[in-house]
Symmetry: C2
Subunit: 159 residues, 2 copies
């Protein structure tokens, strides 16, 4: 994107959110995306920009789904410090997000039976739920813990 | 995207496919996407490029979902020449697509009861099914017919 440099000053990010540093691939292409730690949980967020919109200048359904995939599946990273793949997603589209709105998402674990993470997720903007649904994710390979993940806190050399 | 001009020569597009001319918004951001008319039906396609990939250099789940939304819902445009919204999607992820692969998708209508289009859809690469699922789409506003849509052929001033 040729306008990367100008982007950060184009809007304000709500307090507590820090940018995710995806520097290549699809994560960068649809960014910028942000994350905020909330107690033992987290939320992800993004501001609806022109490159996220459909013909009605609302966030495109594909963008909201991509965001849901990341925001709901991220809990597997937090819980297991693993790479993971998406097995199944069911998404109900309840409302739309307009250009300029701040969109947030998160999930909670319903089951980890058979090493599949089944989560209940929600995407929202202010008081409006945009998408509600269920995700099934499968951890495929352990990796080194990263900041914000449970194993990172445990392995950290804090005093 | 600053490399728009170079993109068309970077890979070959299978015969019969023509580019979709989305010039702004999310459709442009995740493109280029292509369409091919097959008898009374159509297919959509794209080549997996670096900006579509995840950390394993496969097509990101979000990209495949966004493509599924467009490739499956497009049947509502063809049938009704309407703007439409996505109501529900259920997607089973069966296989992954590698960088450089050509990915295709399409759907068939199962029901149009209550003015909701329920479709069964598939996304594939060669012989491999990548995603199978169901989509529910709602036409929201009629517009002028476009080439490739049923009403366009009917309204066309052919001899």
């Amino acid at each position: 994107m040729s306008d990367d440099i100008a982007a950060p000053s184009a809007f304000e990010v709500p307090e507590g959110y820090t940018p995710l540093d995806w520097r290549r691939g699809f994560g960068r292409q649809i960014g910028p995306l942000y994350r905020r730690v909330v107690g033992n949980a987290y939320r992800m967020g993004f501001r609806v920009e022109d490159h996220h919109t459909n013909g009605m200048t609302n966030a495109h359904g594909g963008m909201l789904m991509s965001f849901a995939d990341m925001a709901w599946g991220h809990i597997v990273s937090v819980e297991t410090s693993s790479y993971w793949v998406t097995v199944r997603l069911t998404l109900d589209f309840l409302s739309s997000a307009h250009l300029g709105e701040w969109v947030e998402g998160g999930s909670e674990v319903l089951s980890t039976a058979d090493d599949l993470y089944v989560v209940r997720g929600r995407i929202w903007a202010g008081e409006r739920t945009l998408i509600a649904g269920t995700g099934v994710f499968k951890p495929i390979q352990r990796r080194d813990p990263r900041p914000g993940e449970k194993a990172y806190a445990a392995s950290d050399a804090r005093p």
